[in-house]
């Protein structure tokens, strides 16, 4: 596998979706290609950082409007 092949398969590799033989081929390439290893590691870290992002606290005014609208909906459904 060459560098282009590694880049094409990065997502599948990080998601654990590569067939064993392809994964082994990719890892053999990573053993001797510093650039591809760096790209794989940095792409993985990129995903991890976004994945770990905490949900935002809903601003008080947005929360209040949401729950008011919900109350109206619930009331209209039960009436």
């Amino acid at each position: 596998m060459n560098c282009k092949g590694v880049i094409r398969e990065i997502s599948n590799y990080l998601d654990g979706e590569l067939e064993l033989s392809v994964r082994q081929e990719l890892e053999r390439h990573l053993e001797h290609c510093d650039d591809c290893r760096m790209t794989v590691d940095q792409t993985r870290l990129t995903v991890e950082i976004f994945c770990d992002e905490e949900p935002v606290e809903l601003p008080a005014d947005v929360k209040s409007r949401l729950h008011d609208a919900l109350q109206r909906k619930i009331k209209s459904k039960t009436n």
């Binding site: 880049i7 997502s11 599948n12 890892e27 590691d41 940095q42 990129t46 994945c51 729950h67 919900l70």
Partner: protein, 229 residues
């Protein structure tokens, strides 16, 4: 009341943060969802039977995540709020149609993503089309490769980091951003993402690959060693 009993039973499902895996080891990042609490189906069942408090508990539980989702897709606060509100109201109206063949949260994410996409299309009709053919592979190769050093994200305070993530995701083209948000932030599967967006699985994979590579490229500006901004 059932919903009150469920609400008392809070379960912390966030997995403990362990040491990072050795670099380049096979390490599928996808983890069991952090949001699906074990009592979700009980709340849904109670809400379906007309227990409004149970539905309100579901809303309280997911409002922050759904607002983050609609903000990430629309990048506009007014649209994000409208999309979030309509998503919760529609999910309440159509709760009886929810078949429970997936998690309630996944179903809610699909509704919210569609509401957000509708507003994005309205606001940027010429900039957003998931139907466009996938481009070739010439653009995939990384342009800049520089050492980030160990744990580069820890060089930034939490608020600073959030600003950085917001600014880099903002620059991503909407059709890549939407796929990245659903797959990597909301943790939908490839199939669920394809279904939610009405595109093929290869299209999801192609856009996700490009989104991840583009975000890596943009983070390089902040993370490369010796950078302090």
């Amino acid at each position: 009341m059932l919903s009150a009993a469920i609400m008392e039973k809070k379960v912390n499902v966030r997995p403990p943060v362990g040491p990072r895996e050795p670099l380049s080891a096979p390490n599928p990042h996808r983890l069991p969802s952090r949001v699906a609490r074990e009592d979700e189906h009980l709340l849904v069942a109670a809400a379906k039977r007309g227990d409004a408090a149970a539905f309100e508990e579901l809303v309280s539980r997911y409002e922050g995540k759904i607002f983050r989702l609609t903000m990430n897709i629309t990048r506009n606060r007014e649209d994000a709020e409208d999309a979030m509100q309509d998503a919760f109201l529609k999910s309440y109206s159509h709760l009886k149609d929810f078949q429970e063949d997936s998690r309630f949260y996944t179903w809610l994410v699909r509704i919210a993503a569609n509401e957000a996409l509708m507003r994005l299309r309205k606001r940027r009709p010429n900039q957003f089309s998931l139907d466009e053919p996938i481009e070739g592979e010439d653009d995939l190769m990384p342009l800049q490769l520089e050492d980030w050093g160990p744990s580069p994200e820890q060089r930034f305070a939490q608020t600073e980091m959030r600003t950085i993530l917001n600014s880099v995701i903002d620059t991503l083209e909407p059709d890549f951003r939407v796929v990245f948000v659903l797959r990597d932030i909301e943790e939908l599967s490839t199939e669920e993402t394809a279904r939610a967006l009405g595109i093929s699985i290869p299209a999801v994979k192609s856009r996700l690959l490009r989104a991840r590579l583009k975000l890596r490229q943009k983070l390089n500006h902040y993370f490369r060693q010796g950078t302090t901004n």
